[in-house]
Symmetry: C2
Subunit: 684 residues, 2 copies
């Protein structure tokens, strides 16, 4: 479906449900919302925003909604510069006839399946948000803020009726703080952004081979010896939990076991399946250390550990990881082998299953539901565990057929630097799902996963956002909201709104560029970075020997996933070759970009002279110049319908192929477009 048919569909939709005539001007004003609501009905008229604007709350609302409504008022003031008279919205200073009236029936609980539905009505005379719980009102307030619009006369909200509720109850973001620690403010600003796009689960990956990140009172050597001093105190954790709760977001902790535990073994080597001593791992990958599942002392340790941690984290779900245990320590330990023989445990997979059953008992004792990566899926575990699918969707289908609930992360690995649409079109329950409706009901939702091998507190935001806003739409909105062109159009708008929360996903790029250039002459590097992306998938680590303390401040870190300028250029070339064939304006636009890139290298080499860190991409910059020149020639040939020289084409394609090579773990993202231009000339 292309953009036009998508818009037509919405227009038709509006026409059907419209209660009053809509002028042609109104039709184009489809609100730029993300995630798109379940039902939207655009009306005539608008509510104009003025400085006497007030918000009031009715019904059974707790402090959460009052605080959130006050924040919404501040954000509205921040965007519009309007000096609202209302300062804090509190029960004792509630407005009797407010412009925005919020009503809710009860204070919700921040737990799975809580009611998050709301209706939002904007008319000329006022705005109403209606919800069962305060959680629904929070979601409605975010939609309300996205509806803000402006014209020459001022700010306004277009008249509209929205009825909304989520498609999936579990809409998460995993943040790995084990591999690289993330300070409290990083977590907080990401919680703000999550709330803005209606995500409701922070999956906090708190321990790894490279770091144990929680203060543990029962076993203090966990954080004292396993974290290099980078851990959250329990007070900081409680502060974050409160912050999340204020935004209607659950926080599920993960302590990965029996593998991914090197950092535990530094202080407690007796937990391991091989003798110590152990060190915090500085490398990436799958490590050998694994807990010894055959010793009762392991379970005694975990019992005390879970008692403390289940008390700290109130969420009903508790993630125990369970992934990537390579079994080497188990194989090498004859006592473990003997235990397996004596207990009829045929292989390591079964041994891990035994381990899982034992910890499930412990978690059940502390009233927690166990979640684990799809390795834990074993037919003999009870069906009240939740399978977290990462290796493929089949595990999810299999699990559902056997009655297990599941959440999907396969396809949402944002650390792999794939473009937004790749994740956006990945549906937890695709149209061709082989599952029955009852089985489908077991699929709770999904989570984007921000693994932290190659991110720091300076880059994490640009890896999560804005792509995760599109994933959030996948989890919240109906499955047929799947137009990629319109997603990208709205994403560009939402992207800037997300900056309101202090996210650095846009700001830090120029900061990196200033640092990399050692000065203010940032243009040439900016031009280059605009059209490159970090390597995809797991390739980055294959091209450079990364350690935990390696710098994450190079060009590859300044470069963003799904580079906007490069994508828009590729789209432009597609349009030129397909629909706008030989259109003069499109031709000029393409040519202008190509000339900029062709000439950029000359300026760039001047900057490299004083910035040795940029040397690694010198040849990439040179290749950009050369492929752009090829592109210009191809464009001129094509536009004029000139005869082609086969030799030039072959040589160009050979060069283009070579230019696809990574340099500094970066890739040129305009190459496919130039390749298309050259092939168009040759008629290939």
């Amino acid at each position: 479906m292309n953009l036009i048919s998508f818009h037509l569909q919405i227009i038709l939709f509006i026409t059907v449900i419209m209660t009053s005539p809509v002028s042609s001007q109104n039709i184009v004003e489809i609100p730029d919302l993300m995630p798109m609501p379940e039902e939207i009905s655009v009306k005539t008229g608008e509510f104009r925003l003025a400085e006497d604007f007030t918000i009031g709350i009715k019904g059974e609302a707790g402090t959460r909604l009052y605080k959130y409504a006050t924040m919404a008022l501040r954000r509205l003031s921040g965007r519009t510069g309007l000096f609202f008279r209302q300062d804090f919205i509190t029960p004792d200073k509630n407005e009797s006839s407010p412009d925005l009236l919020i009503t809710c029936n009860r204070v919700g609980e921040v737990r799975l399946h809580e009611d998050e539905s709301y209706t939002l009505t904007v008319s000329e005379s006022g705005i109403i948000i209606d919800s069962e719980t305060d959680m629904g009102a929070l979601r409605g307030l975010e939609t309300f803020l996205q509806l803000l619009n402006a014209d020459a006369d001022g700010y306004y909200f277009h008249a509209v009726v929205i009825k909304d509720s989520p498609r999936f109850a579990w809409r998460g973001l995993l943040i790995d703080v084990g591999r690289h620690f993330m300070p409290v403010d990083v977590i907080k600003r990401n919680l703000d952004a999550m709330a803005a796009v209606k995500l409701n689960v922070l999956h906090w990956h708190l321990s790894e081979d490279q770091g144990f990140r929680v203060e543990c009172k029962a076993f203090p050597k966990l954080h004292e010896m396993g974290s290099d001093g980078y851990y959250y105190t329990q007070d900081q954790i409680r502060d974050i939990l409160k912050y999340a709760d204020d935004r209607g977001i659950r926080v599920m902790p993960e302590f990965d076991m029996p593998g991914h535990v090197s950092s535990w073994m530094v202080g407690y080597p007796e937990l391991a399946s091989a003798p110590g001593p152990y060190e915090i791992s500085r490398r990436w990958g799958v490590m050998d250390p694994a807990m010894d599942p055959t010793k009762e002392s392991t379970y005694n340790f975990l019992d005390r550990f879970f008692r403390e941690m289940t008390g700290l984290f109130p969420d009903e779900y508790f993630h125990i990881g369970g992934d990537e245990n390579n079994g080497k320590q188990w194989n090498a330990n004859w006592e473990i082998r003997r235990f397996m023989e004596q207990n009829d445990i045929p292989d390591n997979h079964a041994l891990q299953s035994y381990f899982n059953k034992r910890i499930l008992e412990l978690l059940t004792k502390y009233n927690k539901k166990m979640v684990g990566w799809d390795e834990i899926f074993q037919p003999d575990l009870p069906t009240n565990i939740v399978i977290h699918s990462w290796r493929g969707k089949q595990a999810m289908v299999d699990a559902a057929r056997r009655g297990y609930q599941s959440i999907l992360s396969n396809g949402y690995y944002i650390d792999l630097i794939r473009p937004t649409d790749h994740h956006y079109l990945n549906d937890p329950i695709p149209e061709d799902s082989p599952l029955t409706d009852r089985e489908k009901g077991l699929i709770l939702g999904g989570e984007a996963t921000m693994w932290a091998e190659y991110i720091s507190h300076e880059t994490i935001d640009s890896r999560i956002w804005p792509r995760t806003a599109a994933i959030a739409e996948r989890f919240w909105s109906q499955g047929d909201i799947d137009n990629v062109v319109d997603m990208y159009r709205r994403l560009k708008i939402i992207d800037l709104q997300l900056e309101e929360h202090g996210l650095l996903h846009n700001k830090n790029q120029l900061m990196f560029i200033r640092r990399l250039c050692r000065g203010y002459d940032t243009g040439p590097l900016k031009n280059l970075i605009d059209v490159i992306e970090p390597m995809k998938g797991y390739n980055r680590g294959r091209h450079r020997n990364y350690r935990q303390h390696s710098p994450l401040t190079r060009v590859v870190d300044a470069a963003k996933p799904d580079a906007l300028k490069a994508r828009e250029f590729r789209n432009l070339v597609d349009r030129y070759l397909e629909t706008d064939k030989k259109n003069e304006k499109t031709y000029d636009e393409i040519k202008k970009s190509l000339i900029l890139w062709k000439n950029n290298h000359t300026d760039f080499i001047e900057i490299i002279k004083l910035s040795p860190v940029l040397k690694e991409i010198e040849s990439l910059s040179e290749d950009l110049s050369t492929v752009s020149e090829i592109g210009i020639n191809a464009l001129i040939y094509f536009q004029n319908g000139w005869d082609t020289d086969e030799k030039w084409i072959s040589e160009s394609l050979v060069f283009i192929e070579k230019a696809k090579e990574q340099r500094g773990q970066c890739e040129l993202m305009i190459i496919p477009a130039i390749e298309k231009l050259v092939k168009a000339v040759s008629g290939r």
Copy 2:
């Protein structure tokens, strides 16, 4: 003194103390340090940085230095992109023959007058930092990082011998979190930046009419009712104190009394000199509420309050404010008048002096030294208090003559948006000081003051930095380091280095501009903002009715103090009119800028159409266009020596005068240069 003579002076200095011949190439490489060290001797050769670079520590060093050295290694890696093999520097993993060897004799105490001296020697074979205390080593590490240089072959440190120690022991920054609360991460990143420029006191202004910001266990209604929920828990305060201590920075708390206390009275109206109830103040200015100094219950309250707070804050000094008590509540209370009569207290000033003596007793009991604003200076107080001068330097002189120690903030009010050189040239002990050497010794140093009427967590960094780096130099470096041109040259370099600490002083401007423009077409507003500044002094609040919750997201907030582009343009015009008279290149450069500004308005009005928040500066933009056109004409007249039209000149000057008017609380900063051009034409 101009730049050339300054450089000559340094070169002469180097020539004198040089131990080996220096090539002409070396002479230009005066290190870009801020603050400038006490003695610097540039040598031949350089130390080249490679991936096998290591840091080692010898002597009696505590964890503070090991942590700081590890951070320095990370920052070096971050700037250069080098993959150092060394991960964490710890006593058990210390390098035996490191490239950078740090030795220190003892672990310093973070207290006034601790030894912060160090010597830093760079030679081809290695780098040595030598210091009495780890605090000196910290300062030396910052100098070391500022010395990093680069050429086409890579990164290096120029050979140098630096002997350094501070001129003043008290080098502070006040952050007011009472008027607008600042989250923990704001304080932390500013502590990092303070350490980078060798500031060593955070003066934390924790209570105001508009908010009480500390969790108080003895009197919980202080933070519960006086903060709108925006306060630091004691755990957060301890976390910040540790963070500061790790950087060798003292933290002195201020609880302002007997005035500036409205927020205290919300929960404890019995403290006041007039009956309640009280509300948190939302306005700015001097408020009436004052503690009742005649009731013993006030001192009982303060005794318990101080007992708790002096335990929380370990610094030896405790600031009790004491400023701006307007006396209205005291005058209106007949019991207070009677008390004064009975106790021979002639006026309110004497009554406050009585109050001060009482709280001095309490603070002395808890082993604290009392600091207060210059209002507390009363001859009958003992000389172990410290006078904090804000209203003028005379108070400081008077205090010193009577044997009181003092610190200076008058002239360092960075909230007043004055240019950097205004603060830079303000010396706590100017050359013409009338004081004796002994009296001069009583002047401990100074503090930049970041009052928070018009700042938020989004703008505070741009108000503090980079200007405060120049103030830091004033406090650390010798008094004869006072060349403004060279200060600005170095400031521009240090400015970018400060971004390493997560400061938003540069990043947030474009973010604001994107938000204000509601999109990516930021050029026209950026061009305008480059040449405007917020109103100076106390004028901003006179032109708009600001409240605590008013938006701080408008153009005036995106505009920066001491706007770089405008300053450079003014300097360029000065050079053109004075030294480069009619120089073609300078002429072209000036003209290019003027043409940009002249044409900018046409694009800008397109953006206003969709961004009503920008309407308030529409006429400012138009005036920029018009004055730029005037400038272009004046420039052409002057360059060609053409006859002038008196009428045009008069009309132009009238228009220029009018264009000086604020719009949106902003001022055009290129006007003086254009005025000069016009006057140059007329020969005025």
